[in-house]
């Protein structure tokens, strides 16, 4: 049994400690925000925050989050920060098929938590672990830049 905080609630997972965190989130807790795109830590579709840092949940064993705080898109989407990102992603036209987006949002949040006013280069680097095949990235970069400007003080 592994205890950790998931989206603000203290929970206990019944799954074996070597289970992939992604399977715990999707299977045991029904959180479908994190997606499986590659299963080997290359695409970032499964990104979640662990103690505020970006993790690929597909290569994180459950045991590694014991006592830690895990946030998925479901735990972030009611925040002011999310609402601003949602607006900026719409205004920038940053969403196409959407499959990479939950991970991309968590990566954006992780970046802005660390660097509230990132340069374009810092955004590119911050999102470089998240693959997107539809957009060519630039409209996502613009969206994050826009959010950082408009959200002055939010992060």
């Amino acid at each position: 049994m592994v205890e950790f905080t998931l989206n603000g609630r203290k929970i206990r997972s019944q799954m074996s400690p070597d289970t992939r965190l992604l399977d715990v989130l999707r299977g045991e807790f029904g959180l479908t925000g994190p997606k499986e795109g590659c299963g080997e830590g290359e695409c970032g579709a499964c990104s979640v925050l662990v103690d505020g840092k970006l993790f690929n949940s597909c290569i994180t064993p459950l045991a590694n989050v014991r006592g830690k705080t895990v946030v998925t898109l479901e735990g972030f989407r009611d925040s002011e920060e999310y609402k601003l990102l949602e607006k900026c992603f719409a205004d920038a036209g940053a969403v196409q098929c959407g499959f990479c987006i939950p991970g991309m949002i968590m990566a954006s949040e992780a970046l802005l938590l660390r660097v509230p006013h990132p340069t374009e280069e810092e955004i590119r680097e911050g999102l470089s672990g998240n693959l997107c095949r539809c957009t060519g990235y630039n409209m996502i970069i613009n969206a994050v830049q826009m959010a950082a400007e408009k959200g002055d003080g939010l992060w």
Binding site: L73, F89, A90, Q96, L131, R133, T135, Y137, N138
Partner: protein, 701 residues
Amino acid sequence: MKDISVPVEKKDHRMKMSGRAEYTADMKLPGMLYSSFVRSEVPHALIKDIKLPELPDGYFSVSGSDIPNNHCACITDEQPVFADKEVMFVGEAILLICGPDEKTVKKLCAETEVIYEELPAVVSLDEATEVALGYEYHKGDTETAFNNADKVISETFRTGYQEQAYIETQSAVGVWDKDKGKAILYGSMQCPYYVHSALMHSFELDESHVRVVQEVTGGGFGGKEDFPSLLGCQAVAAARKSGHPVRIILNRREDMSVTTKRHPAILKYDAALDKEGHITGLRADIRMDSGAYPGLTSVVMQRTLLAALGVYKIDNLDVKGRAMTTNLVNNGAYRGFGAPQAFFAIETLMNHIADKLGVSPLSYRQMHFVKQGDETGTGGKFWHHVPIPEMIEKAEEMSDYSRKYAEYARPQSGRYRKGIGMSIFFHGCGFTGSAEKDFIKSKLTLHKYADDRVEILASNTDMGQGLKTTFSKIAAKVLDIPYEQIIIENPDTDRVPNSGPTVASRSLMIDGKLIERAAERLKAIWEPGKEQEIMEQYKEDRECVPWDIEKFHGDAYPTFSWGLNVVELQEDTLTGNTDLLGVWGVYDVGHVIDERIMEGQAQGGILQGIGYGSMEHMEAFKGRIRQNSFTDYMIPTAMDTVNNGIAFIDNLYKDGPFGAKGAGELTLVGAAPAYEAAVEQASGRHFMEIPLTPERILLAE
């Protein structure tokens, strides 16, 4: 009143953004079982025996013998749903093992032993001798052109595989409704009615006993055009056998190993030049790897051959293409559909000839551009304005191409050297030939509810390209009602008529026009508070030279979209790595229906094209795809691109809604040759092959 191209928030934005969109992997049905494939480990063999481990209660295997007609219909039906006697490529499905626990089905698959009697296998395009299919066309008198030529330039180009790399892998859930004897399939797909036809064919059902529902689809790019038909038959076979819903989700390595890809090609060109350097005759002989089963290869190859002479007027032509059968994974649709191979070759050939003649590639192109009224290579006509001159002007303004070209043409020294390249290309809009009229016969419906909301009932799918939004904008604009009043859901074949597949950049131009016409008719009879319905059907009354596939003659397309790319980069001559300095795209897609969506198509298409030209290296070795993960098959990241400059030239097409033409594929087609041209200028060398990886740049003579 605002122009239709003013952007709106996409219909599915909030749902996708917030993670509430339900993709196939997110579905949960009561009693749903998991599954895993036993696949061929060898490129060609007879199956002598299959030794299954003991299956625990609730676990079962599915094979070809569980399917009334074990052939998957996609143009032809040569490919079995499950290989039963003979395997034709590594990764071909032999069995599906299903049961309640995902780990257990995988374990059971690993424990299954297939005994093969191996047969000779053709594992590369170079050694292939069996022609799967071919086409050719001729124009004028090439023999005389070559006999009288001042110079003949011959070059052979090679292009590799390209993997669509949609981030959501192929996935489907099959259900069997025992009471009704009905097959139901939910999945990630581009073409619900293709899957519908395949299920009818394999399970010998009439159309009312098959239902196909598209789930939110995480990217397609052609990769989900025909493959979902195969996966759909496999999922339904398992559901039918067990009475349980059965889910199939390919893992990434499996997906990259066994799904269709862009056809690798070898393109041999000979150009006859007169004293002034004009191309008076062109011979193109193109070989493509069809894979083990042809699938969509015939139509892909048609598009390759139609693009073989690029945007140039050449009077004497011999164009020939052969698709070769190999014991390799099937190739199929990928954005551009055969054209990227041809445009890479012809655009690179133009650059090389210009270089040999000592003139700039742009001025050399200018000697040959087609214009409105010219004949196409197949005896059709460029009926509409060809805006190449305006596109060049725009590109010059944005990128400063000619000045930079001249600057970088001067001798460069040092480790880092610069280059700039240009490509000009088209996309033949919609299906090749007469398919719309003869086979698709698209139908769609506008249904107005009593609350005056209007639903669009069509089988076209939104896989990220924004179709729900653009379709809705067309209806709302014509009806003069708020965009929010339009409803459009993922297609369900029980509810929507067959408005055709979501391929060939046809949806907006062909079906968007039907929406425009239906909305005009609905507007004319509009009664507030009353339920009303309008059905509209494809009709063709434009002037054209009828297409004849046997003679490969006539108008292959109703019209063309046009594109121009410029790529500027810096090469590190020590490592062969390149840094993009600037990328520009100028496109004529008729009238843009939504500027933001169209910009997204351009941005995404360009980067896929640059990936194709630079880093996306995939090859088969002894019949096996070597790069079958994102670790080995690298697609561009946010660090691998720059802020592209994008512009659109307005060039209204009267048979498209609000003047729109095909758009999605065009944006990929020209990036690879522009990239290659830039590398050539920086490195001072000619290259014949893409992807042009750093290794290839360094190893070249």
